[in-house]
Amino acid sequence: MAVDYATLKKGGFMRQKQKNCFSLRLRVVGGNLTAVQLSKIAEVAEKFGDGHVHLTSRQSVEIPFIKLEQIDDVKKALKEGGVEPGVCGPRVRTVTACQGKAICPSGCIDTYALAKELDERYFARELPHKFKFGITGCQNNCLKAEENDLGIKGGIQVSWREKECIKCGVCEKACRQGAISISDGIVSVDKDKCNYCGRCVKSCPAESWDTVYGYIVSFGGLFGNSIQKGETVIPFISDKEKLLKICDTAVKFFEKNAKAGERFRFTIDRIGKEKFIKEITEAYNE
């Protein structure tokens, strides 16, 4: 039987050095697995692998030493625990996320809910090359948003409310950007300096801020053979539908313009950054 490596790879089976052995990549969303999934993964690694798993650099799990002839049994066993194979190759990969607002005190957005939504919308979509989404909850950037082809970072757009303010002075010090100044009891925010980190809001004892929770998006990050930081070319996005439209536009731009085997960043550079910015800005302004 001829081995169709392309099909195997699509299903997350990574060829190993060892003949006839594959490392099976699993579908993980936003770095979360349930205890049930974990125990099934452990069981499969014991039964079909060599008893260990590998945690990948992008929050997935791989079970090495799976034998080619056991692939169907392995898939069936995993399915019982609600676990599916992941993907490799030229398509949308694992959507990664930090713990976000649901768990982390610093989080500004619900990263896991968004990761699930993006995963449902794009996961495994065929494209000219791999395409990675990463979502981080705040400026601490634990998930390294700018490493991804499309990175999303949570933020809070603030405006001061005088009525509730007790003039304690905490926000001015909590701000690491030097964007807040207080004089004669008036709190001013320098919009050019504010990076939407939300530290003023989170430290305010009087809840004297109007807040808009939203997203800062970066495009074209790479962290492999070539290292380039994703760039933010549009303003803060305050609603999720707009964010999804922006994601659609970016993916479509890649699908339409990329050569096979060309990463998003190089497509943007080859086609012209101005052209890309124009298309994304149009989607933003729609």
């Binding site: 005190p105 304690c168 905490v170 909590a174 530290r199 989170k202 004892p205």
Partner: protein, 81 residues
């Protein structure tokens, strides 16, 4: 500082994160509900982070006063026992 009746003082300028917050928290635990603690803390990371951590513990921050010597007084009202 005359605006507030200070019940107790704690100086956390001699420790670094995360002990800064721990020291402040221990001092707050010694107080009764409604009593006021004055915390002396350093500029930089302590003044950026300690007020927020105290807020997240549920206490009420009343004022941050600049001592103009690289330290601040954070005035906190204890909430809950």
């Amino acid at each position: 500082m005359s605006d507030f009746k200070i019940d107790d003082n704690v100086d956390i300028t001699d420790v670094v994160c995360p002990v800064t917050f721990v020291k402040a928290k221990v001092a707050l635990e010694e107080l009764d509900d409604g009593q006021i603690l004055s915390i002396r803390l350093n500029d930089g990371e302590p003044v950026q982070n300690v007020p927020r951590s105290i807020k997240e513990e549920g206490h009420q921050i009343l004022k941050l006063i600049d001592n103009n010597d690289g330290t601040y007084q954070l005035i906190v009202k204890k909430v809950g026992d």
